[in-house]
Amino acid sequence: MLSVNREKIRQICLYTAGSLFAVILAFAITAIFLLLVGKDPIAVYGGIYQGAFGDSFSLSETLVAATPIMLCALGVAIAQWLGMMNVGVEGQLYLGAIGATFVALNCSSLPAWQLLPLMLLAAAICGGIWSFIPAVLRVTIGVSEVIVTLLMNYIALLLVEFLIHGSWEDPTNVSWPQTAAFPAAAELPHFFGTRVHLGIVFAIIIAIVFAILLPTTKIGFISRVIGSNPDAAQYAHYKVKRYQLWAMIISGAVAALAGFSQVSAIEGRLRSGLSPGYGYTGFLACWLARHNPIAIIIVSVLIGGLLSGADSHGDTGTDLIGMEIYTQ
């Protein structure tokens, strides 16, 4: 027994050492680029840290940026646990936004406690439908869900453009690509006067729920078997296709929550360019966290910190820095 523990500890040490080395290497290479551009790397890194976690405002901005990334990453993870690669979280985010917008614009007389859950439901349904389409193609005729979800991102973007310039055009500002403002009741509550909103609570709850359900329940077990060895799942007569289908639907619904929370709490309307790539960033976060729900929370916060810290640092090279440090 002892030898097993020793082996495990050895593996954990090796893995941590490897990751640490990768991070240091990433910082070092970026430092070289910064020097070439004539900036002081330490100052830049310090500035990013300040902007990310330095004071309570920075922290709140970090969490605001982290929330949609977290939700999208969880969406990717849910599908990936059953072996489906959902690259369409960006599109599902937009579909969630569309669903929420529809309810907000058409049921504006409802009180918040009715309006918000309705918006959430609409968002989840729209996102679920958007991911259902590639899922059904995959389980029935074996079409690659990677390609279909990816392409449907573009369709989602165009759908948003269509609605914004068409029937949902803002009557008070026709030339601007956005919808009318939502009623006050359609705004998700915020915490302590900051921009941090209920969305992050959704994300953390979802992460914890799955982190508990996967190892301890029968459904979780079946899901893990399907993800780990679909042949074995087939051999044991599990309903693999049905599980994969539902995994994709839930994945889309969770990503849609990101869209819902963005239009509700941050934007207050649906506009073009709602998401600066939260979906793709979320996909990255999921893989960096190796699809582990708790790790996803941590990684999303770190990436959110990077984005908001670089943003507030206001330097031209910040995008470059962002990319460099990603590549660990």
């Binding site: 027994m1 097993v4 495990k8 301890t216 329940t217 029968k218 459904i219 077990f221 079946i222 893990r224 078997v225 780990s228 060895n229 042949d231 074995a232 087939q234 051999y235 044991a236 007569h237 599990y238």
Partner: protein, 587 residues
């Protein structure tokens, strides 16, 4: 499996002067004496190889010559593959050395060994199924240029093949060849590289008897032409017929060397297994098998009964639940069309009676995989009826987890979870059992208790709680799967090659377990195995399949290895009865 016939031994071949000169000077046929006529010779000097705490080869010294097949006999884990991998350059010995023709050699990689003319054919073929024979042979050669020009080499390769009695269509894709032909392609690859030392690791384990004969004939022929041919095997009858020298290994040591014609099967088997006491001392925990009053069947000539003692595979009667007790399962007129993923089945009529062990004997690719898929609910036939206990049933019942049959699969990797723990592997087929669930949650303690008991009974190692499925060796994985499927207590068990990768002692325990499974008359078992010996000794009736049809179903008392072999090769029952005299009843 193969009839012992000493007149076919290579010692009568007059090209074999080296063997005869050895024969002339040996005493009582027990020791191999070094030759002096300058032919190719390998000498292992005190070779030792350890893997962690396991000593795979322990102080092995032996000599290998040309002029006949040199066979290395031993159970799984005896060290034969390790020794050969050292010779072929895959491993370096921790102690000891290798001499070829009195030159000390030290191969640091298989490439170096290859340059020396050593070639090895492994148990798993290294062929590309979508390419042709010609392309596969060319790919194996280091001198093949970057841009292949098969037509140039085709003639030369064809020549070489013909000279050694290998009859193959060079332009056939590997996927269309049967196992014996693929084996020949592997050998041809070695010949094309001008290999002078050929090592074949268990070449006949997947072959029907007539296919095995072909391969061994080819190997004899090659050995007689001045090459060294080494055969690793655990099939005693084969090597008695074809090997000129036999080295028995056990637990990493050389036990003895013999001439092929001068030793009996029982003696070899006894030496192969050795004293069960010493094996038990090596284990951490004692093997729960009664050792007294137990002797073993080896050949048709020596018939001794196996008396399994008080069996410690306790049957947990509380586990029997929710399973349709089927007295009698019948498949009537089952047809399956050929498709991209499976072969066709034509008009299958199979009846599995309660309380019987029903065997299926077939060459690889005869449709037995599709038959298994149908019985286990993975494939639904286009036509045909499923009749359970005299009443027609829907095919869907076979894929219902609580009613489906127990299935020991052909490919254990596809029925086990490498990334999950052992207890989770055992839980795989138990998820519908209420005793392991508390609402939607898994009762982990209960499952682990069951797992520990099962792993213990079937002697799976390593056994600690957090061990992953992927850490099990082939034999242990097989035991885990057997443990899981036997526990299911289903009324039908479909076992495909259940003793693959297991040593002799465990194989016999499993055969006994199979017989016990059906004793009592309420359950039945379908046994599919390439080992005809196993089929003849364990089954009550055997059906033979060929090309997607069932060629015949006979009581085992009216069958023997030859008739089975003929049926598996596609002959009809009438032809078989004409060709062979009435077989002697087997006990």
């Amino acid at each position: 499996m193969v009839e012992k016939n000493s007149s076919v031994a290579p010692t009568t071949d007059f090209q074999n002067l080296s063997v005869q000169s050895r024969l002339a000077s040996h005493q009582a046929g027990k020791q191999a004496v070094p030759s002096t006529d300058g032919s190719l010779r390998i000498h292992c000097e005190r070779v030792t190889k350890k893997f962690g705490s396991v000593i795979a080869n322990n102080d092995i010294s032996c000599d290998i010559y040309t002029g006949g097949i040199h066979a290395f006999l031993g159970e799984n884990g005896a060290g034969k593959s390790t020794l050969m991998k050292i010779l072929a350059g895959y491993y370096q010995p921790d102690f000891g050395s290798l001499y070829i023709n009195n030159h000390l050699v030290n191969f640091r990689s298989p490439t170096e060994a290859r340059q020396f003319g050593i070639g090895m054919v492994h148990q798993q073929f290294t062929l590309v199924p979508s390419l042709t024979v010609l392309e596969n042979v060319l790919l194996g050669h280091p001198a093949t240029p970057l841009i292949l020009n098969p037509k140039k080499q085709a003639a030369t390769i064809g020549d070489k093949a013909a000279r050694h009695g290998i009859d193959l269509d060079l332009y056939a894709p590997i996927s269309r060849l049967n196992m014996a032909q693929r084996q020949k392609v592997e050998i041809l690859k070695l010949l094309w590289r001008d290999a002078r030392i050929l090592i074949l690791d268990e070449p006949t384990s997947q072959l029907a008897p007539f296919e095995a004969e072909e391969i061994l004939q080819t190997m004899s022929h090659l050995a007689n032409q001045g090459r060294i041919v080494i055969l690793i095997t655990h099939h005693i009858e084969e090597l008695l017929k074809f090997a000129s020298v036999i080295t028995v290994l056990r637990q990493g040591r050389v036990i003895d060397n013999f001439y092929g014609s001068s030793v009996q099967a029982e003696e070899l088997a006894r030496l192969m297994i050795g004293e069960l006491d010493s094996r038990v001392k090596r284990d951490e925990e004692p093997c729960p098998v009664e050792r007294a009053n137990r002797s073993i069947i080896f050949s048709e000539r020596s018939i001794q009964t196996v008396k399994a003692q008080k069996d410690s595979f306790a049957v947990d009667t509380t586990e029997v639940s929710l399973i349709t007790v089927t007295e009698h399962l019948e498949l009537q007129n089952v047809h399956i069309r050929k498709s991209a993923s499976h072969r066709a089945l034509h008009d299958i009529n199979l009846e599995i009676k309660a309380g019987e062990v029903h065997g299926i004997a077939a060459v690889a690719g005869s449709g037995q995989d599709e038959l298994v898929a149908v019985l286990c609910g993975h494939l639904i036939p286009e036509n045909g009826k499923l009749v359970l206990d005299g009443r027609q049933a829907s095919w869907k019942i076979l894929s219902d987890p609580s009613h489906s049959c127990a299935h020991v699969p052909a490919e254990p990797k596809k029925a086990s979870l490498a990334g999950l723990t052992l207890w989770e592997n055992l839980f795989l087929r138990n998820i519908h059992r209420k005793k392991y669930l508390a609402g939607p949650f898994i009762k982990k303690k209960e499952v682990i208790k069951m797992a520990e008991e099962r792993l213990n009974t079937f002697d799976v190692r390593p056994r600690h709680k957090s061990a992953l499925g992927g850490s099990l060796s082939g034999g242990n994985l097989q035991r885990l799967i057997l443990a899981r499927e036997f526990q299911k207590q289903a009324s039908l068990m479909v076992a495909v090659n259940p003793t693959a990768g297991l040593d002799l002692a465990m194989s016999l325990r499993i055969r006994e377990k199979i017989k016990q499974y059906v004793a009592g008359g309420r359950r039945s078992l379908l046994l599919i195995s390439p080992d005809l010996d196993e089929l003849l000794k364990t089954c009550d009736r055997i059906s033979v399949m060929f090309a997607g049809r069932i060629v015949g179903t006979e009581d085992v008392s009216s069958l023997n290895a030859q008739s089975l072999g003929l049926l598996m090769g596609g002959n009809s029952l009438a032809t078989v009865n004409d060709r062979l005299p009435m077989p002697v009843a087997q006990i």
